[in-house]
Each structure stands twice: as C-alpha cells, then as structure tokens.
Symmetry: C2
Subunit: 354 residues, 2 copies
C-alpha cells in the first residue's frame, strides 16, 4: 500500500556550499522527509517539509530512554543521473533495529519511495566532485511526552540529507587501530547488531582513549571473553590471510554492515575465497607476526574501504604491509566505488538510478 | 562558584490536577530548569523558564548517538515543609554517568541550588495525599546539530517536575519476576552502571517477553556468564537469607541505586547483618527451595521497596513467603518512607528541608 506523500514547498532555498570544504554532517539541504506513528493510525501523514527544527517535549521518550535508531547511506552523481547504493538494505536493517528496541517497523516500500521522491526534489544538492556524495540519514525516534519506562506510543521517522566531501583526497591512506581490552561495546543478547543510538554514546570513551594513545580508531573485542574480534569504530573489519579474505562471523553483537556484505559478495565474484569466522585476537597477533596476514582493512559507508597500517594488540604495535595500501583493499575500493558512482557496470543489481 | 539563576515568569499557571488520578510521568508543572553547555563558556546561563517544548535540530546528537543521561528523585510534603531525599547523591551519580558517556560534568553544588530554587517556586505542586510526591527528573543531553560520531560540543541540562500518586494503595503488594536467560542488559566494561538512555531502550523487549509470560518484571543476569544476579527492571534486588540481608555486589554493570545504598545503611543501623556478594542464580534457586531465603524485594526510587512474591528461574516458579509481604520488606519500607516524609527523625542527615 503506497501512501500519498504531501510536499510543502520552501519559500527560499539555501545557497549551496562548496562541498570540498564542507565538514561532514554540518550542512543540510532544503527539505526533509517526516512520517509520524500513532497507535491509532500506524505510520501516517508522510510528508516532505522544509528542513526545520523539531519541537519536542522535554519529556520526549527518546531523550530519556533511548528509543532511537538510524541508518546511513549515500547518493552519488554521475552526469545527470543520481545513484543510490542498496537503499533497500538500509530500510531492511532499520526494521531489525526497530524490532530489537520495541519500536514499530516501517513499511520498507513506502520508505524507499519517500526517499526517492526526496532525492529527486533535492537532486541539485548531490555534489559531483571527486569522492563527493549526498549523505542520507534516515532515523526513527520515540517522541511521546511520557516518563514511564515502556515502549513509546508515538514515533517520528525522518530523513535528512547532507552533502559531503570525499573521505580521502586523491588516494587511500592507511589508518591506525587500537585493540580495546577493557571497554566493551556490546555483548550477545544485547543490542550490538542494531544501529541504536546508545551503542554510539557508549563507545566514545574508548575512542578518546585510543586517540590519546595515538591511534585513530578502536577495534572492539567480544563482550563475553574479550578475546574475539568484533568491529572497528564505525566499520567492519577484514583481513587478507594466505591470500583469502577473512572477516568476523556475525554473532548478534557485531553490526551487519551493508558495505561488509557488499565487499564479501564482490570479493567472491572476483574469485576470492571468503571466510567468515571467529577470529581470536592472539591468533591475529601470531598471523600478523608470521606474515600470514598481509592486509587489514575496514569497510563502512563513510570510508567504503579503509586500509589499516598499524594495529596495537595488548600494547604491541604490528605494522601491516609496511603501512602501505595493499592490493586487495585498493582493488575492492576501486571496484565498489566504481559501481557506486556508475563508472562500471553493476553486475549485482545494487544501484538504483533516479 | 555559585552562578546567578535567571527566572522567567509564566503568564498563566496551569490548573493543578487531582494527583490521585494522575498517571505517572504525564503531567508537568509550570516551570523547568535549564542550563546550556558550550566549549567556550562551560555550563552557563542557568535559568528557570515556563515549561515548554525544546527546539532541536533534526541532527541533534542525542537523537542519533545517544549521549543522554538522567536521574530521578522525589520531593515530599510534610505540613508546610517540602522534603528532598539525598538529592546530592543524584547529582553525584549523574556526574559518573556523564563521565562514562564522554559528556561534561555538572557543578553539583550549582545543580543542588538550582533544584532548591525550582522546588521552592513550585512548592504548591508538591502533593500531600498519602504516598504522593513530586517526581523530579534531571537530565542532560547532547544538542549539537552534527552527524559526526564524536562527543557533542554542546549540551543541555534540564530539570522537569511531575506530580505523582503513590505507587501502592493502602499497603504493599508483592510483584512477580521472570529471570531472563537470553537477553542481556549490560556487561562489565560497558555502561550498565550509568543512567544512560540507551540502557532502557535495550531492556524493553525482555520486559515485553516477561509480561507476555505473566510476570511483572525482569531480573537480569550478568552479561559474561549469564549466571549471576544483577538487578530488576528499574530496581536493585535484596534477599533475606538466614535472617541476613543480601544483595548483589556492585560490579560495573549494576546500577548503583540510591535506594539500594539507603536500604543497606538503614538495615545496618537497625541491626541487620548486610552482605553484598555475587549471587549465582542456581544457588538462589536452591536457597528458595530449601527455605533459607525467606524474603525477596526490590528497591528503587519509584517503589521504594517492592516485595517479590514469585520468581521464575529457568522455567520453574518459586513462591516466596507464601506470596505475602515479608516483615523485613515491610519494616524497611515503613522506616524509609517515614524518613522521606519526615514522619520520624532522620538519623542519617539524608533529608533536605525546604
């Protein structure tokens, strides 16, 4: 069932910035999508409105009890075309997040259609410089003014858009990672697989510690034994071991990244042997030491692929591939971004052209 | 350093409701306290304003990354006096929550003074019926309009007030509890000890499951082994075992309840032997079976003391004290509420009279 989308026009449009100098996530476009949930009508009154502040009660449930989930994806410009990368996957994952936090699921088809309408309306905001894109942030939160601890009765589903510069300049550059032994991000039985707001707030202190120790990002271990590799900050993690592509198996506390899933499919398509397995941190250290592991890289929407040049494990620094970008990371990055920007044919049916 | 508190008067005051029929957390008073944080000025411009909606950017950090913590306490009426119970403990704990989520700590003395001024202004909103009180909700959240994952640069600290009926009618009544074996609330190294918004959203699904199975609340086990007792929904838990008062030892994933702490101090004062220890769920089952444990009760701000009449452990129901209110729960409830309402002398210096 497709719902009728109301569009309220803005009286004035903003000046578009020079995206190459824009800081990520600080500039927003002229319009936003919004949709309200009530127990009586479910998700109703979908509309596109001028980008504007939210009016929330001080007792708004999301601010007190954290019922708030989000997604992130990008729109890319290719000539006159605007391309989206696997947007159905984002709304599918959003529903898994919503379900875990006892929030009402959205209609994925309606959400996709609303996104397409919003992007078409904001087509001129999709930047076309190298590596640039329009970052898309769908999010749902509880807005009932009520202080009791139970699922909220009302919600808002919004989509906002922000033009962003490329993550890298002319070429990929390696990052450094600190393996966190004390702080824990998530544990089985918890909400680690969901893009729930609370997961991020809880991760900031470890990120600060890593930065103070001179590393750019945190590699999390599992919450039960603190021995198995889970994920990096806002990325999943991959290794090239004996020429094969290895990544931690999803276990309920790892975020099921859409870039992760795409890298696995792309690598298999290109002839890599791909293995998802439990990776013990001590085994990783041995394999880095012995040279079995020749590349390490992260994968996520923001970076696509992020080569790792240095890992600190239990206080020991391991240099990977001479702190240079490795061939697998470069190849997978090139192919995936070429598909996203429509520069090569998409053999997977991932790209939606608007 | 005491800051000057600005007060903006409301043009019209609300009609006060019949508190005996008010649903918890739905009615708010005429005024709220607010204080803004910026990197330049720290916490500045503390003010009391008419209760009003918040104007937040759709990219407000708290909604996306969950930097949001809260506290809860109550004001009680005794004749012309208004009494607060250990408010310093709430602001002290709030600072521990803030620190864990990489949020700026508040000045506890300024916060207490602001609370006192707000309560004095809203004195007529403190209800005086049996068991009634004015619920106080201090909360801090990140309000910077920015989508990058890092600690927000700006925050709001607000206090809102809501008159509430007594949790019980004329007398205490026992609750039922389901011990959760699958879902996990928190794990060591995480944020379980903080009153962080995300902890609550993550708990709702287990609460729903318990309700569907016919139990009122969830008893959480530890996140590592799923064998040791942690806490109940929004309460800490206590047992009378061989006449002694037992409660799980704080371990980083259990919320350090102020009612918990007060019950321990009060029980010791009254001659109980009190033990804080790791309590294995199987040992608990054995001790319920053998009759060593004669009482179970929860303790928290909302309920003060909540006797537990039935516990489901691994699928088996254990009836406690014939599903009747036990003498220790009744005694500690009576004494603690008598202190809170100023009906007996406070030997601990807990009560602040305004």
């Amino acid at each position: 069932m497709t719902q009728t989308l109301q569009i309220e026009r803005a009286n004035n449009l903003k000046d578009k910035p020079d995206v190459s100098t824009v800081k990520f996530g600080t500039v927003f476009t002229d319009y936003m999508f919004t949709n309200k949930y009530t127990p009586e009508y479910g998700w109703s009154e979908p509309s596109i409105l001028p980008y504007q502040n939210l009016q929330l009660s001080p007792s708004c449930q999301a601010l007190h009890y954290g019922q708030s989930v989000f997604e992130g994806l990008k729109a890319y410009k290719n000539g006159e075309d605007v391309l989206l990368f696997r947007p159905d996957e984002n709304f599918s994952r959003m529903n898994k997040s919503l379900s875990r936090l006892s929030m009402p699921e959205i209609n994925e088809e309606n959400a996709l259609n609303a996104l397409y309408e919003l992007i078409k309306l904001e087509r001129d905001w999709v930047p076309d410089g190298p590596g640039q894109s329009l970052y898309i942030r769908p999010f749902v939160f509880a807005d009932e003014p009520y202080l009791g601890v139970r699922p909220s009765e009302t919600y808002q589903f919004n989509i906002i858009l922000s033009p962003v510069a490329g993550y890298y300049g002319a070429q990929l550059s390696p990052t450094s990672i600190y393996v966190e032994d004390d702080f824990v991000r998530a544990v089985r039985g918890g909400v680690g697989f969901a893009k729930a707001s609370g997961n991020y707030a809880g991760s900031l202190l470890a990120q600060k510690k890593a930065n103070e120790l001179g590393y750019e990002q945190v590699l999390w271990l599992d919450g039960v034994e603190q021995k198995y590799i889970e994920e990096v900050g806002s990325m999943n993690i991959f290794f090239i071991r004996d020429g094969e592509l290895i990544t931690p198996k999803l276990n309920g506390s790892i975020l099921p990244g859409i870039t992760r899933k795409s890298i696995i499919q792309l690598a298999e398509y290109k002839g890599y042997t791909v293995k998802e397995e439990a990776i013990h941190i001590d085994t990783l250290a041995e394999d880095l030491e012995s040279g079995r592991i020749t590349e390490v890289f992260g994968a996520g929407t923001a970076v696509v692929v992020s080569p790792v040049g240095k890992l600190n494990i239990h206080g020991v620094d391991y240099i990977v591939n001479d702190n240079q970008v490795g061939p697998a990371a470069q190849e997978l990055y090139d192919d995936l971004t070429d598909i996203q920007y429509g520069r090569i044919e998409d053999p997977f049916g991932w790209v939606v052209k608007l």
